[in-house]
């Protein structure tokens, strides 16, 4: 195959499913394999940044503790530093005063990064439908998985995490910048 006019289009060598997932170029076989390997590695070592804001944080600690044991999923370390974390679990109600902080922490995390919104308050404000609280952290940062519950059981959080793993395993290698507008000041 010569590079030029008779180059194969992506839809001639890729299945429609692969085209829908955004795979392009002639090296389709190679990129799918690399993508699979990278996604497998990423989904099996998602280090969470702890962002406990309220009572959901108690359940988050419980999830981390020995009975539920998040290290079964390669998440044994809750990093207090955003620079070392891949995923942030927002656990609890987010006040408007706290909103710039969480945005800054999110911007400081290295890509690729994911967000789990744990509990009613983080997901949409929950029972606190008032001026003081952000009605859902997705006003501030892009959320991948919402976990309803007040607070969710540890099992419910783990189910959300497993849903996130499924999402990571179906992701593309590029396109991270398109997910949310980035803040260059971080």
């Amino acid at each position: 195959m010569t590079i030029g006019t008779d180059i194969l289009r992506p839809d001639q060598i890729l299945t429609p499913d692969q085209v829908a997932r955004g795979m392009t170029g002639d090296a389709g076989v190679v990129t799918t394999t690399v993508e699979k390997a990278v996604n497998w590695a990423r989904s099996n070592a998602v280090w969470p940044a702890l962002f406990g804001l309220a009572c959901c944080a108690i359940e988050m600690m419980h999830t981390q503790a020995s009975r539920q044991d998040l290290s079964r999923f390669g998440m044994e370390v809750m990093r207090a530093s955003p620079r070392q974390s891949d995923m942030i679990i927002v656990a609890g109600r987010l006040s408007r005063k706290m909103a710039p902080v969480i945005r800054r922490i999110y911007d400081q995390m290295p890509e690729p990064k994911w967000v789990i919104s744990m509990g009613d308050c983080a997901s949409c404000g929950g029972v606190f439908n008032n001026y003081a609280l952000v009605q859902g952290v997705d006003e501030i940062i892009p959320v991948d998985v919402y976990v309803p519950g007040c607070p969710p059981r540890p099992e419910a959080l783990i189910q959300g995490i497993l849903k996130l793993h499924e999402k990571i395993q179906a992701e593309k290698l590029d396109g991270w910048r398109d997910r949310a507008p980035q803040d260059d000041r971080a």
Partner: protein
């Protein structure tokens, strides 16, 4: 010093032979408590009619304003629930819901019950709004799906310890005795009148 070291390592040694505490969650699910409040379900009577009569008391009791009820009128041709009205739209926003169970307490017909399902995670906020067809349980073996055609048959039901009839009481006893068609005996009442009254 050596003694303290041995003592400390003894604790470590002891825990090595202890049974692991960890629950292997996705494979093995720990049973929840009997009174655990999880995802809601809308219940039915044994004859398949929906218990919900669209009174919106659950919606009024909800501290998080998570429930939306839009009632509509029943008719004998298209009957969803005994009584005058049924819930045409019944939506619960699981993200607002705090699973307090006030809706369950407020319900006069025990239509809404918080069951034991807790796996509710979603990729999208819109996915967490549960509509009536997601909440309503399927009809049991002895009942038909709604709407039912109840023309010509009586639909007795029991609510708050009292007997109600789908045919208005005036039509039943207003006419002179002997001329009014007396409905047949309750074919499939939900609870016998002498059974215990539903707890409210």
């Amino acid at each position: 010093m050596i003694g303290a070291l041995i003592q400390g390592m003894g604790v470590t040694l002891r825990t090595m032979f202890r049974k692991p505490l960890t629950v292997q969650y996705p494979e093995h699910k720990r049973p929840v408590a009997e009174r655990f409040r999880g995802r809601h379900e809308l219940k039915r009577y044994e004859n398949g009619l929906e218990r919900c009569i669209g009174c919106s008391l659950c919606s009024a009791a909800c501290p998080a304003d998570a429930i939306l009820v839009v009632p509509a009128e029943n008719s004998d041709e298209q009957r969803f629930s005994p009584g005058e009205r049924f819930a045409e739209v019944y939506e619960i926003n699981m993200m607002r819901c705090i699973f307090c169970g006030f809706c369950e307490e407020a319900c006069p017909t025990d239509a809404i019950v918080l069951e034991h399902e807790y796996e509710l995670a979603a990729y999208d906020r819109r996915e967490t709004i549960y509509t009536k067809d997601m909440l309503l349980v399927p009809p049991g073996a002895s009942g038909d799906d709604t709407p039912q055609d109840t023309r010509g048959r009586d639909v007795p039901f029991r609510m708050g310890g009292m007997d109600y009839f789908s045919v208005p009481i005036v039509a039943r006893i207003g006419a002179a005795p002997g001329t009014a068609p007396v409905p047949a005996a309750p074919s499939e009442p939900d609870t016998a009148p002498e059974a215990q009254a539903p707890s409210l």
